[in-house]
Symmetry: C2
């Protein structure tokens, strides 16, 4: 289970590169496989669309049981809204741990990739949440947003919106505004380290003026987060 980082091969670890090179089969969502195309050229590819994760995992596991080396690819880190959990669940339920050797290879996750492009918004305690309610009841997401705001955490939102899901981010903003000021700085990064990269610094008041989709990460500051030059910074509290 290989994390390929935010996008460009510049951010892929040597361990991940080696695993991809040694693999007989590469399995993953097709958009992410395209990002690493030069590395996996000529290999067998198991590539399915965005919502076919279970199918893709089962196919990967079947190849591994047959003795092939399979790289199950997630962009970012495989353990943060990636494929690692699902693959381990299937192996566990089907009692396959003695048939398949597993290694999880971490990658740079979108939260820290986006943060690096914005400056240093994650220097203090933060929450990572997905706004996708496909697999999580919306009430749970609402509750967590409210608690995160109450705790003055920096909040990182994965999957803030999609073509079909547009109301969630509006509601999330309302909940955050109950405990965070409208002037709280917000960073939006789309396609971090990929072609078409966009980096925006705005605030809770104006964040919905900017386009958001499944390629966007939204980072909402805590009560100390400030714009400094072109950067967004959450001070840690050093005496200067």
């Amino acid at each position: 289970m290989v994390g390929t980082g935010p996008g460009s091969i510049e951010h892929l670890s040597p361990r991940a590169l080696k695993a991809l090179q040694e693999a007989d089969v590469i399995a993953g969502y097709k958009t992410y496989i395209e990002l690493i195309a030069p590395i996996v050229e000529g290999k067998e590819i198991i590539s399915t669309g965005m919502t076919r994760e279970v199918e893709r995992c089962r196919a990967a596991i079947q190849r591994a049981r047959g003795g092939q080396k399979v790289a199950l690819v997630s962009s970012g880190d495989p353990g943060v809204y990636g494929m690692a959990g699902l693959a381990l669940e299937i192996l566990h339920r089907e009692n396959l741990f003695d048939q398949v050797e597993v290694e999880i290879i971490p990658g740079i996750t979108s939260a820290t990739a986006a943060a690096a492009l914005l400056g240093a918004p994650l220097m203090h305690d933060f929450v990572v949440m997905s706004l996708s309610d496909l697999l999580t009841p919306w009430e749970v997401i609402e509750k967590r947003l409210a608690l995160a705001a109450q705790g003055d955490f920096v909040v990182v939102l994965y999957n803030p919106a999609s073509h079909k899901r547009t109301s969630q981010i509006r509601r999330a903003r309302e909940l955050l505004l109950q405990h965070k000021k409208a002037s709280t700085p917000v960073g939006i990064v789309r396609k971090a380290y990929r072609d078409g990269e966009e980096v925006v610094i705005t605030d809770l008041e104006h964040m919905l003026d900017h386009p958001l989709d499944m390629f966007s990460i939204v980072i909402i500051g805590n009560n100390q987060t400030q714009r400094m030059g072109n950067f967004l910074v959450t001070p840690r509290g050093y005496a200067l």
Copy 2:
């Protein structure tokens, strides 16, 4: 500002490697510079102890103002309890953004490095917190722990304990136990991807039976987190 990842050079990105190779001066905490010694051999090193961050940053900035290429090194990611925020703050306060060109190069942060060694405990919404109260009032940390537990977040603790700070982790455990079961799985990773690496899966009841220090990351599950084989997994909720 360069993130060198969890430890071994296997997890350092090509972008970070290139920045280290091109730098005239390497600045950072000495333990972390030792981990990348083969790469930075022969270069000028500005290395100070753990609590001398401000001094180290100022020295790095002074060299950069003098026209040298400086790599200010953080292990993990420079933006997660690393050096990026402090350096940007100093540049901002001293009005130096037009004198020093800045790039923040992300790295694999300890939370995801530890998670990969444990399995996939961060597959659902999580909180990243530091238990160090050197720079943050302890009341704020207590409040955040309580809210994180209430929200059934997976909780990742950085800096859980040091030689001097031993009571914080005991109190944190008490607060988490107010909303999480004693049987909640806990993963402890010490020195991830370094010599002496230790990986333990335990639970909230027994977590204090294991040694904890500044090299440890503690991950406390949510109410779905399970031990599966030798792995710790937080299911995302796929129908299987």
